[in-house]
Symmetry: C2
Subunit: 253 residues, 2 copies
Amino acid sequence: MKKNLVFIGAGNVATHLAKALYKNGFSILQVFSRTELSAKTLADEVSANYTTDYNTIIENADIYFYCLTDDALPELISQKALPNGIHIHTAGSVKMDVFEMNRTNYGVLYPLQTFSKNKEIDFSKVPLFIEANNEFSEQVIKDLAMSLSQKVYTVSSDNRQKIHLSAVFACNFTNHLFSIAQELLGEVPFDVLLPLIEETVEKVKTISPRKAQTGPAIRKDNAVINKHLESLSFNSDWQDIYKKLTRDIQKES
Amino acid sequence: MKKNLVFIGAGNVATHLAKALYKNGFSILQVFSRTELSAKTLADEVSANYTTDYNTIIENADIYFYCLTDDALPELISQKALPNGIHIHTAGSVKMDVFEMNRTNYGVLYPLQTFSKNKEIDFSKVPLFIEANNEFSEQVIKDLAMSLSQKVYTVSSDNRQKIHLSAVFACNFTNHLFSIAQELLGEVPFDVLLPLIEETVEKVKTISPRKAQTGPAIRKDNAVINKHLESLSFNSDWQDIYKKLTRDIQKES
């Protein structure tokens, strides 16, 4: 029989995960968030009840999912012991032990993906990194993960943190470079960059990023580099980012 | 009748461009490169002659393409006046005036794409940014560009440089972030990041990168940021890149 779940947190990760699990036949009993609108919105989408009062959290669910910021997670756990059920957080960089103080069965399910409101994700292709504090928890978490995705890996807290850090570079920082690129384009539409961006990604599917490196830095084309630094003189932060990345590319070559 | 061409330079840009033009029915008369192997390799692929001696360049071709680094370009042009034909460079950040000293008809055709050896490019989707010093040159360059791609734009040297700078952020620096990400993964295969990278690109096709930003920096999740900075203590350059990009993301929010 499918397990029943409680969601603690109602942000992007909670929303995508709860919806995917609900679609796969899990019952979501309750959604908790301090923000009533977030709690209600998610609860409505997955036919659950909701609460903004942590003391009214159901105590006999099979599984509790914690989708919170790394700061909020230990704070919330310490507020109330929940001896029953399996407790799972979804954070990349929080150790599994965060549950040790007052939970019995626990673990982690970290989805390596970027989630935005209003944008569907095909969970079957999302790599899920799991960890558990005992065999019983591991079996339950693995079964649940494998019902969502074809790519389930068991990793330690330390390795999970490395993967998370790596994802910040490959996704969050990459997106910020796109942001800078868009501003530099001025009135030229961002669309002109899309074939280039797509090809940049296409390449690293078959060759390593290091071998795929092109551009003035790796060519040591100082004439271009100096012109670019001059054009960036209106924004010393971007100039600095340009210098640091250029130097780091050249160190590799 | 299709024009006949000379290629000066035999690197990635020259190779992809010459092959695409050859396929479209242009005759490539000659390829020049100081490196004999490069000159011969490209010449063989496009049924051209080759030379490593700049003084033996054919003087009556219709079009001369210069695919060189920004440093080499003015140097080579100054070495020999070529009064006939239309002279076109392909550099993002070199002003069209580089030809002024000893050429009559000239311009620029800048393909906004990253080219690697041994990786085919569909030129029809590559944005081409063109510029010319008179109407005659413009018509010839435009016709040639439109025979290659559906996306041909006329831009000034200043705007072209901005586009090039923007491309360095969106492509070359992005690729380097992938490189750092791969190293951080250690033994975990780079493939696990691909769904995340693809989604990062998918998102900016429909929403602006600024709105698409996710991750610890934009959430101001200092617990994560501090853990990541600590993990990066083995490489102060990466630590610095992490700090700078994080701060810059937070400035935007």
